[in-house]
């Protein structure tokens, strides 16, 4: 990887800003020929405005064109199943006017100096890269056109491009990108701010279904994932942590472990106090993972369990039940006078909602291969956030960040878990202690019991309706987790939470319980829980008002208007356009034939909407409940507005179907229960994931709007859970106010 000067722009004597000399390079290709290499400092994005979209680094991209016309595009972000390795290069290839069938994709190393931030989170890759990646492709195209124009001594404006060929229209002459590569490589680069982007009506790749670029390797079993890494001389490690979060090792029977077959090392790691770092535990290193895992069975550890051993889920529920009726410790949003409005309301509805801790349960257990040699480290990791891992490794091992090379391996699922890099620093530490390359692999129980959980939460709602059935007062006392007035990771509630600003009298407040359990972002963090509570309670209000639940929501949204986002700790929250939400809600009602169906007994339809990650989603679920209370989801309808373009419709549909079923899977059976500071559930028997026989068909419809395209990894998930719970109410008359859904509550017996 080439070093790249990220210093300030220089101007020459004429005062004209010009491109870096390092911007383009022609160099010898392996096997002969020339490569046209672009390294594009993304001026105008982030650089001039370091706070733009929270992405302060220099974005960049790397395009190579070989003489045979093969275009190699580097995909900068981690691939976790969201399809980014296909989608980001599509943006470049579109503006480059490349022939997609001749494009090859390379995965970038973690290299923030070249690529800016490289992460998979927040469904942000689309909004952050929609324009910058296209400008990369457009700049490359412009240079190829210029090279052709110079060759022919014609004005560039007379040249057109298509499928990797430049054509001079008046004379009919053509040159391929491959033939132009070496000539283009020595031209000055254009300013990315001034390159011309295509008229979207001319898009040939964006908006067309493209299959995943790694799928041929996946279906033939080629090594791609972190767990597949093989380094010569590599040993295998397991790392055993205290079952109680924050607990430390007092003593372990290391001599017995060292004597186990195949074991080369067993040692105690002291660790620190940060969960997303190195914590205390016992490392066992062997010549095979099986030998290390077998030796582990003989391990006896005397743990200092620490204060979290006094915490459990039942205790949190008891605390929440006591706190709920009290005034909140902190206010989040307040409009009008809720007490007065409730006192004069025609109907007052009150309900308490709760949801459990959840684990991410990515199918590839956490793993990392590391080779620390002296002051340098090479790391192969399935990670969503490599640079954060680099910083932790550097700090913990006392290495310079520049001396740590991180290969971003394909992730067997992410869901937010691999934004944390605890397994990376464990592997690096063990490698250094052992003095050679080590692959660390957690087992399923490690994975479920040492997660950064979706936080549990408790909501105490009150709603007031006037005599016309209009919502006039709304209150939520949210019992969440945190300390010192700060929410635990992903345990928050924002002032803009709907129906804030859509009801004249509103009071959102919170009281926090201290927590020793690590929490973190999980697919649609915050939203995946809040949607359930808020959209279910809104459904209760609709029924109390005697109104159709879709019509009640449309009335609540009212006429189309845009509310600006409130400033928050991570910058301003996004604007909310009620017109866009109305449109998807109306569309999903049409698609599902809402209000016109006659359904069998104990079957029902439920609706919900939710705005998250800049996406507007409305969903309808049809569910059936049998006599024993077992719930079957028959079908899901999704209407979504993610802006003007669905970049890869094939990938988009997969993400939405997956997210909807993911939400259903969680609602139907998942909970991590904390007992004596430990996570109880350990494998797929007690932490069930939905299987094919229960997975419903998902009907998807995009409402195209005149807005920049936004991401899809997350926003389809939140509304499916309340839509399901509302469907169960329609089917049975019973409200689901606590997740996961308990069939015993729905049984006719």
């Amino acid at each position: 990887m080439k070093a790249f000067d990220s210093g300030p722009e220089k101007s020459d004597d004429s005062g004209i800003m010009h491109a870096r000399r390092a911007f383009l390079q022609a160099s010898a290709a392996i096997g002969g020929g020339l490569l046209l290499e672009f390294m594009l400092p993304m001026r105008g994005f982030g650089r001039t405005n370091p706070n733009a979209a929270g992405d302060g680094g220099i974005l960049g991209a790397y395009v190579r064109i070989s003489p045979d016309g093969l275009v190699t595009i580097t995909s900068k972000n981690p691939e976790i199943g969201q399809g980014i390795k296909t989608m980001l290069p599509m943006l470049i290839a579109e503006e480059l006017d490349a022939d997609w069938s001749k494009v090859r994709i390379d995965q970038a190393l973690s290299d923030p100096a070249t690529y800016g931030r490289q992460f998979a989170g927040g469904s942000r890759a689309t909004p952050l890269n929609w324009e910058p990646m296209r400008r990369v492709g457009a700049a490359a195209r412009q240079m190829l056109v210029l090279a052709a124009a110079q060759t022919w001594a014609v004005p560039p404006g007379e040249c057109q491009t298509s499928l990797g060929v430049v054509r001079h229209a008046p004379s009919g002459r053509t040159l391929t990108y491959g033939a132009l590569a070496s000539k283009a490589a020595v031209l000055a680069a254009p300013d990315l701010k001034t390159v011309t982007l295509k008229d979207p009506k001319d898009f040939r790749i964006i908006g067309t279904p493209q299959r995943g670029v790694d799928s041929p390797a996946v279906v033939t079993g080629m090594p791609l994932f972190g767990i597949d890494v093989d380094v010569p001389g590599m040993r295998h490690a397991v790392f055993v942590k205290c079952p109680v979060f924050g607990g430390t090792v007092n003593h372990a029977n290391l001599d017995a472990i060292r004597a186990a077959p195949g074991v080369s090392h067993a040692f105690i790691v002291s660790g620190g106090q940060t969960f997303d770092g190195l914590v205390s535990g016992v490392a066992i290193v062997a010549d095979s993972w099986w030998a290390a895992a077998k030796a582990r069975r003989k391990l006896e550890v005397d743990w200092n369990e620490g204060p979290t051993a006094a915490q459990d889920s039942a205790g949190f529920a008891t605390q929440a039940a006591a706190l709920g009726p009290q005034p909140p410790a902190q206010s989040i949003a307040r409009d009008g006078d809720v007490d007065a409005a409730l006192a004069s309301a025609a109907h007052v509805i009150e309900a308490a909602y709760s949801y459990p801790f959840l684990a991410h349960a990515a199918l590839e257990p956490q793993n990392c291969t590391a080779h620390v040699q002296g002051t340098k480290a090479e790391i192969w990791a399935p990670t969503q956030n490599p640079d954060s891992g680099r910083k932790i490794v550097a700090k913990t091992l006392g290495l310079a960040e520049a001396d740590i090379t991180i290969h971003m391996m394909r992730c067997g699922g992410g869901f937010g878990r691999r934004l944390m890099n605890d397994y990376m620093v464990e592997a690096a530490w063990i490698s250094r202690e052992v003095g050679g390359p080590v692959k660390l692999l957690w087992d399923r129980e490690d994975d479920l019991r040492h997660d950064f959980y979706r936080p549990a939460g408790f909501h105490f709602f009150k709603g007031g309706l006037d005599s016309t059935g209009t919502l006039v007062a709304f209150r939520d006392h949210f019992i969440s987790f945190g300390a010192g007035g700060k929410f635990a990771n992903s345990a928050g509630l924002q002032a803009a939470e709907f129906p804030a600003r859509f009801v004249p009298n509103l009071d959102l407040g919170t009281t926090l319980i201290e927590l020793g359990i690590p929490t973190g972002p999980m697919r649609a963090p915050g939203s995946n829980a809040l949607a359930f509570a808020f959209q279910s309670f809104i459904d209760e209000l609709a029924f109390a008002a005697g109104r159709d639940p879709v019509q009640f929501r449309l009335d609540l949204l009212g006429p189309p208007r845009v509310y600006a986002g409130f400033p928050g700790p991570n910058g301003p929250a996004p604007d909310f356009d009620s017109g866009r939400m109305r449109a998807v809600l109306e569309r999903v009602a049409e698609r599902s034939a809402w209000g016109t169906r006659s359904l069998p007994a104990r079957s029902g339809l439920g609706a919900a909407f939710y705005f998250s990650h800049l996406g507007y989603f409305a969903e309808v679920v049809r569910a059936s409940v049998d006599a024993r209370g077992s719930v079957r989801v028959d079908k899901v309808w999704v209407a979504a507005d993610i802006g003007s373009h669905v970049i890869n419709p094939l990938g988009a549909e997969n993400q939405v179907q997956g997210a909807a079923i993911d939400g259903i899977s969680a609602a139907l059976g998942q909970a991590i229960t904390i007992e004596r500071g430990r996570a109880v559930q350990g494998n797929f028997d007690d932490y069930p994931l939905l299987r094919i026989d229960r997975a419903p068909p998902v009907d998807l419809h995009f409402v195209i709007s005149d807005n920049p395209p936004t991401g899809l990894g997350e926003p389809a998930l939140p509304p499916v859970i309340p839509a399901l719970c509302n469907a169960i109410f329609a089917a049975t008359g019973k409200r689901i106010r606590k997740l996961p859904i308990d069939p015993a509550e729905l049984s006719l017996a």
């Binding site: 799928s215 996946v218 279906v219 090594p223 699922g413 094919i692």
Partner: protein, 161 residues
């Protein structure tokens, strides 16, 4: 202990403890990384291989119990006509999200279609319910099996929905 393992048409000599699961023999001794570790308890299906043609969880079969059993993995399944067709259907339908479970899914689907050339939705449910897809690509898995079988790709379940 020394063992001879029949994998993908070849006989391989392996030195391993008797209780070593076939999964770890494949992955760490024979460097066939396509077969995946997901749960270690036979509940997720990521480690599915064929043992004498039957879909089998390789995390639960010890090398000592393998005997002369014939093992086919994802790396070898494309040499069978059904396996090749299933892999192609997976690509045509674009089933994959993260892809981690898909080797096991393809092995289970190939075992199904080898015995049952025209599976119903209920047959697919029965044969595939042992394979978890955490990304939930189930709709496309169902479609790909039907495509490979030459069946219409409609989902007969909930047809009135």
């Amino acid at each position: 202990m020394k063992y001879s393992v029949r994998v993908n048409g070849a006989v391989q000599a392996v030195e391993a403890d008797a209780d070593t699961p076939l999964l770890w023999v494949l992955r760490d001794k024979l460097h066939l990384k396509g077969t995946k570790f997901g749960c270690g308890t036979g509940m997720c299906g990521a480690c599915t291989v064929h043992l004498n043609g039957a879909a089998t969880r390789s995390c639960l079969i010890s090398i000592a119990s393998l005997g002369s059993g014939v093992v086919t993995t994802i790396e070898g399944i494309g040499k069978t006509p059904v396996g090749k067709k299933v892999q192609q259907a997976w690509l045509d339908i674009d089933v994959v999200q993260c892809g981690y479970c898909q080797a096991g899914q393809i092995m289970s689907a190939t075992a199904l279609l080898t015995k049952n050339i025209k599976p119903s939705d209920a047959d697919i449910d029965r044969a595939m319910a042992g394979n978890i897809c955490r990304c939930a690509t189930y709709s496309r898995i169902r479609s790909a099996i039907k495509l490979a079988a030459g069946l219409p790709m409609t989902d007969s379940r909930g047809a009135d929905a």
